[in-house]
């Protein structure tokens, strides 16, 4: 296996009409990490991911495997091996699960392949179907899937896309406990070969699966380290609970 690239962010800043959403973030995610980004609403978590994936304009520096990402179009960043999901699962509802995955696998296809019909299922797609457990539902339109299944499908799409870095925005929001556990296991499995960054509000989920955590507050990195480090940080406690000195933030349902 080749050396995994890591993510290196320096002085990242995003402003909308006078409001600064991300205000000078420095962040390093080592190759093979399973990093959780937490923080209260409006901390700039999603905007950070938006900036990394080219969706919003930002200043500063974002390097992945030594390559500068800022300023490049979204689809180039995607081809550089960075994939993401959204808070609300966005799969192609009218296409089948298989078609969703096939499209995700095909960014590099030439015109000749594109203009022909799909004759067989590409090998990575078969593998991904197994990994995300949707092999049975391959011919169903994605629109009829349950919420959790859609989230898995999204993750599956990132797998076949063969990204090196996965940026997941609240992947377990709205899932049952069983589904959460399954998702967590899936993320662990994925993180063995790739780098994963997860935005999450669910603290129990974070505690169970995070390898490292960064806490964002008001557009800045407040604290960073292992789960235990972060929980022990008084600044984090203050942000989450006001002045109370509770030992750890309470688990909190995502909206």
């Amino acid at each position: 296996m080749t050396e995994l690239p890591g993510l290196r962010i320096r002085g990242l800043r995003v402003a909308f009409d006078g409001f600064t959403a991300v205000d000078g973030v420095d962040l390093d995610v080592q190759p093979g990490d399973l990093r959780f980004l937490i923080g209260p609403n409006g901390a700039g978590k999603t905007t950070l991911v938006d900036a990394v994936t080219g969706l919003v304009r930002a200043t500063g520096s974002v390097e992945f495997g030594g390559r500068q990402l800022l300023g490049r179009p979204v689809h180039h960043i995607a081809r550089a091996g960075i994939g993401r999901t959204f808070q609300t699962a966005t799969v192609f509802e009218e296409l089948t699960v298989l078609q969703n995955l096939d499209i995700a696998a095909g960014a590099g296809r030439g015109a000749g392949t594109l203009l022909r019909r799909r004759r067989s299922v590409p090998e990575p797609v078969t593998r991904a179907l197994d990994t995300i457990g949707l092999a049975e539902l391959a011919e169903r339109p994605a629109g009829v899937l349950a919420h959790g299944q859609k989230q898995w499908l999204e993750i599956g799409m990132l797998l076949v896309q063969d990204v090196r870095l996965l940026l997941l925005d609240e992947p377990v929001a709205g899932m049952s406990q069983d589904e959460r556990d399954a998702t967590g296991a899936l993320l662990r499995q994925i993180a063995e070969e790739r780098t994963v960054v997860v935005i999450e509000h669910d603290m129990a989920f974070m505690r169970s699966f995070a390898r490292s955590v960064s806490v964002l507050h008001a557009g800045r990195v407040l604290s960073e380290g292992t789960v235990a480090d972060v929980q022990a940080d008084p600044r984090v406690q203050e942000v989450y609970l006001g002045h109370a000195a509770a030992p750890a933030p309470e688990p909190r349902e995502a909206p």
């Binding site: 995607a78 799969v91 009218e94 296409l95 078609q99």
Partner: protein
């Protein structure tokens, strides 16, 4: 294969269409009605392109008149030059005061090969330029529709303003021959009909192949969530561009074939109103269904002829009502009714149903909650 399955098989559809077009229609219809059918088929060719660009790609091409016109004028210019004979000016130029010299941009159309190629390639090239600019800047949705309309209107105005070299409002009319064949001869008129029918089948087959290819699936994906496709590493601008250019080529071909069938091309076929009328057939029949779009276009044109023969005012009401009913209450068009009926009859999944987007067809693309604002441009 069972018999019912055979009947619903797409090949059977093409076969029976060919049978209808090449055998039944010429036998049953008078020369005049066959001529009308030829005209309808031209509109159906435009609808095939619209089905791809709008139904599959979500690009509301309200300016197809532009491409129809480019194709039509390219063909008509050559035919007028051929009618005039070598070295002579077309009749209208003499009449409206050209100075005896053929304008430089007419010259290449003296060559039949150039003209034939231009009927399709010229609209495609123009579409490629427009599309590249527009899609790169992420102009989409209604903005795209209004811009296409403005361009079609501008082209029509430009043609009208240059009477000495374009025939102005009259357009190019009184076309006598078609590559050496006399268009006055009913036999040749029939031949023109066959050419058009064959062109329709060929274009439909080509677009069907596109729709069922991986590209077709990708196009639906772009329609439903362009941003998501971009995050998968594709450039949606290029995906849309292909659909737009192919639709332009179909419209250009239709325009070119319209000229020998009807004997005239004029700015009246290019502006805003005809451009919208190109869309209505596809909308009524089912924008995302190829068969629906073709049959819809033919049916609407037929209704226009018949209704306007009997009650000219009623046609306008009817046309308005068609838009309202088809789009507000039946967004999948008649094709969605047929599909529902078929689904009700046989719960078993059909072989032909693995078409992307077949399920909800033209039901509106799911819109993220944040998109209650108009589709427009993004930063």
């Amino acid at each position: 294969m069972t018999i019912p399955k055979l009947l619903t098989h797409p090949a059977a559809g093409f076969g029976s269409a060919a049978l209808l077009l090449f055998a039944a229609a010429p036998l049953l219809l008078t020369d005049f009605r066959l001529g009308l059918l030829a005209k309808y088929l031209c509109i159906a060719i435009v609808a095939v392109g619209i089905c791809l660009a709008w139904g599959r790609g979500g690009l509301l091409t309200l300016g197809q008149g532009l491409f129809f016109g480019l194709g039509g004028y390219a063909m008509a210019m050559h035919l007028k030059l051929a009618d005039a004979g070598p070295g002579e000016l077309p009749d209208f130029m003499v009449l409206y005061g050209a100075t005896g010299e053929l304008p430089w941009w007419w010259r290449p159309f003296e060559s039949p090969l150039f003209a034939l190629a231009a009927t399709v390639l010229l609209p495609m090239a123009v579409a490629a330029v427009i599309g590249t600019l527009v899609f790169r800047r992420r102009v989409k949705g209604a903005y795209f529709a209004i811009l296409s309309q403005a361009l079609a209107a501008a082209f029509a105005l430009w043609l009208i303003g240059r009477q000495a070299t374009t025939g102005g409002t009259n357009g190019l009319t009184d076309i006598q021959g078609f590559f050496g064949y006399d268009l006055n001869d009913p036999v040749n008129q029939r031949t023109v009909y066959f050419v058009i029918a064959a062109a329709l089948l060929a274009v439909a087959a080509g677009v069907r192949q596109l729709i069922h290819s991986r590209y077709g699936e990708l196009l639906v994906a772009v329609r439903d969530s362009e941003e998501r496709v971009r995050f998968l590493g594709y450039d949606p601008a290029r995906v849309k561009l292909v659909a737009y250019v192919v639709a332009a080529g179909a419209a250009g071909l239709a325009g070119a074939l319209f000229v020998p069938a009807v004997g005239i091309i004029s700015p009246a076929l290019i502006g805003i109103v005809p451009s919208i009328e190109f869309v209505i057939g596809a909308a009524v029949g089912g924008r995302a269904s190829l068969v629906g779009a073709i049959l819809g276009a033919i049916a609407v044109m037929w209704a226009k002829t018949t209704l306007s023969e009997e009650f000219p005012g009623a046609w306008t009401y009817f046309q308005g009502l068609l838009f309202v009913v088809a789009l507000a209450f039946l967004p999948g068009g008649l094709a969605s009714l047929v599909r529902k009926a078929r689904e009700r009859r046989s719960a078993a999944p059909d072989d032909a149903e693995d078409v992307p987007g077949a399920g909800a067809d033209a039901a509106p693309a799911p819109v993220p909650a944040s998109a209650k604002k108009p589709e427009g441009v993004t930063a």
